[in-house]
Point group: C2
Chain length 334, copies 2
C-alpha cells in the first residue's frame, strides 16, 4: 500500500469520444479520488474549454499531434514525438507521472509501454490483460496475453500467470485465484509443445493452477485467470467480442424489423435484455492492463464513453494503491 499522491497521465486525444468523454470521466472520478492528480495530454484549447479553471487536481499538458488508429504503431511512436500519447508516456518514464491511460491505437500504446516506459527487469515479455465477463456473476476473469506478443515462449506464459493472479487478488479482490491454461483439450498432454511445457511449469508453480480450459468454457466462470499465448489470446478475445456483437445486432434487428408484435415484445422484454447487456458490459472492469512494464499502462476501448473511462481511472487508482509494480519488481528481480 502506498500513501503518497497518485499522478495519472491521461492521453486525452485517443478514442472516438475524445476529449469530451475523457474529461467528463476525470471530472466525475476526481471527487472520489481526492489524493489523485490527473495530468491530461492533448489540444490545449479544446481541453481548457471543457475543464474548470485552476483545479488543483487537474493539469493540462499541451501537445500538438495525435496518433491515429490507422497509424503504424512503432513508426507513429517514433515520428509523432509531440503526440498526446508519446508525451504522456515520457512523463511516466521521467517519473513525473505514475501511470498511463489511453483509448488510442493499441499497438502504439503497447510500443510506448514497452519501449518508452520499459520492461520491469526480470520480466521476459510484457503481456496485455483485459478483464472479461462470466455467465453467472459479476466477477469476470482475466485473460493474458491477448496480443502484445505474436510469438510466445513457456517462461513468458508463466510470468503472465503470476502477474495476472496477483492482479486478480489485489485489484479484483479474488482470494487464491484459480489459474487455467487455454488449451485444445482437458488432459495434461494436450496442445503443442509450448502448451505442454507451460502446463508442467504451472503445475509445479505456487499458483492455484486448475489445469486446462477450452474455448467454450471461458465465459462460464471456471477460472479467475486464463493464461494463453498472445496469438491465440488475440484471436479468442476478438472472436468472443465479434460473436457477442453479431448476436446482439441480429437480436435488435429482429426485434425492430419484425413488425408491431415484435416491437411490443421488445418493449416488454427490455428488462431481460438489459440484464444480458449488463452481464456483458466489460466497461465496469476498466481497461486492458499491460503487465510487466515499469508503470501501469491501461488501454481502454476506443469507443468508450465517459462511464468506461471513469472505471479505467478507478482501476488505475487501485493498481497504484496496491502498488503492484513494486511487488512485480521485487518478485522478478530476484
Amino acid at each position: 500500500m502506498r500513501q503518497e499522491m497518485k499522478r495519472i497521465a491521461i492521453d486525452a486525444m485517443g478514442g472516438e469520444n475524445a476529449p469530451k468523454a475523457i474529461v467528463d470521466a476525470v471530472l466525475k472520478a476526481k471527487a472520489e479520488l481526492p489524493e489523485d492528480q490527473f495530468i491530461l495530454f492533448g489540444d490545449e484549447a479544446q481541453l481548457k474549454e471543457l475543464l474548470p479553471q485552476d483545479d488543483p487536481q487537474i493539469e493540462i499538458v499541451a501537445t500538438t499531434e495525435v496518433i491515429l488508429d490507422e497509424d503504424e504503431p512503432v513508426k507513429a511512436m517514433r515520428s509523432k514525438k509531440n503526440s498526446s500519447m508519446v508525451v504522456a508516456a515520457n512523463w511516466v518514464k521521467e517519473g513525473k507521472a505514475d501511470a498511463l491511460l489511453s483509448l488510442g491505437n493499441t499497438g502504439a500504446l503497447l510500443s510506448c509501454g514497452i519501449f518508452i516506459i520499459g520492461r520491469i527487469k526480470g520480466v521476459a515479455r510484457p503481456g496485455l490483460m483485459p478483464t472479461m465477463p462470466v455467465q453467472s456473476s459479476d466477477d469476470g476473469f482475466n485473460i493474458i496475453d491477448v496480443g502484445a506478443n505474436a510469438t510466445s515462449k513457456p517462461e513468458y506464459l508463466v510470468q503472465w500467470a503470476e502477474m495476472a493472479a496477483y492482479y486478480a487478488e489485489k485489484v479484483r479482490n479474488v482470494r487464491n485465484p484459480r489459474v487455467a491454461l487455454l488449451n485444445n483439450g482437458a488432459e495434461y498432454d494436450k496442445g503443442d509443445d509450448l502448451h505442454k511445457a507451460v502446463y508442467q511449469l504451472l503445475k509445479d508453480s505456487k499458483l492455484n493452477f486448475t489445469g486446462n480450459i477450452e474455448g467454450h468454457e471461458l465465459l462460464t466462470g471456471k477460472a479467475d485467470v486464463v493464461v494463453t499465448d498472445g496469438f491465440t489470446g488475440n484471436a479468442v478475445l476478438k472472436s468472443i467480442e465479434g460473436t457477442a456483437s453479431v448476436i446482439i445486432h441480429l437480436l435488435k434487428d429482429g426485434l425492430l424489423n419484425n413488425g408491431v408484435k415484435a416491437k411490443l415484445g421488445a418493449l416488454l422484454a427490455k428488462d431481460a435484455l438489459k440484464t444480458v447487456a449488463s452481464r456483458f458490459d466489460t466497461a465496469k472492469y476498466g481497461g486492458a492492463v499491460l503487465l510487466g512494464v515499469n508503470s501501469p499502462v491501461v488501454k481502454q476501448h476506443g469507443r468508450s464513453d465517459a462511464r468506461a473511462v471513469y472505471y479505467a481511472v478507478k482501476q488505475i487508482d487501485k493498481i497504484l494503491t496496491e502498488d503492484l509494480i513494486s511487488a512485480f519488481k521485487a518478485e522478478f528481480s530476484k
Copy 2:
C-alpha cells in the same frame, strides 16, 4: 461427377440421441436419395427395432462395442476393434463403403480417418473443417483446421485452403470463394513466423486470397473460407460456440425469470428470437469434414437431432456426387 451408387457408412451408436436420431435421419433422407445406400453400424437388436424390414437401401452391420466421448481417442480406436465407429471405418478402408459419418468421439473419429482410412497421397496433414454461420445471409463460411492438428506448418495451411476452397465451390456452390487467413491484424506482415509465411504462400497461390481476417470479423461474411492453424482454430471455434451459448442462455434466463411482463414480452418477441436462432443454426450446413483423407469423413455434433443428421447425410451425398476425393487425389499427387 460420379454416377454409380453411393454407399454411406454410418456409425449409428455415436452421439446423445443414438441410434434413434440417426435412424430417423436415414429414413427421411433415403427417399430423396434413391441411388444412395445406407450402411448402419451398431447394436443389431436396437437397429432392427427402429428400421423397416428388408429395405433395399438400408443395411445393418452388427457391432458390439461403442467408443464413448470420455475414451482416449487413439487407444479407443486400437482397443475397441468391434466398435461401430471402427468397423464402419474399416468398411470404408476396404472399399465396401464410400464415406463415413459419425456423431461420436471427435478425436477417435479423426484417428479412424487418419490411421484407418488414411491420408491422400501428397496431403501433408488432414484438416477438420466445419461450416459456420455469417451475420447477414445463410451462406456461412468454412474454417480449417479446427483441431485435427496441434502443431501446423505453412504448407499444411496452404493445402487446407485449397481443399476448403474446392469444397466451398463444389458443395456450397460459392463461385470463386474468397479465402482469408486468420491473423492478429490486417497487414501482410502480421502474426508469427508461421502466419507470415502462409500469407506469402497464399498470395502467390491461384486461390482468391483476400488477405488477413481477424477474430471479430469471422461471422461478418467477409470470407467464404478461413484458414488457420489447428490450435488457434480450435480455440476460436470453441470460443464462438461458447459465447453464443452463454448469451442465448442468459437471454432465455432473463426472459423466463423476470416476471410476467418479461414472459409476455418473450412470447411476443418469439419470432424475432427465432430469426436469430435460425441464423446461428449450423445444423443446416451438415457436419465438420475431415479433408485430406481417402474418403469423406464427416463428424456431426454429438447432441445432434435427426434433422442435423439428415443434413449431414445430404452433405455427404453432395461430396460424393461432386467426387471431391478424386479431385484432391489428382491435385496433390501431381
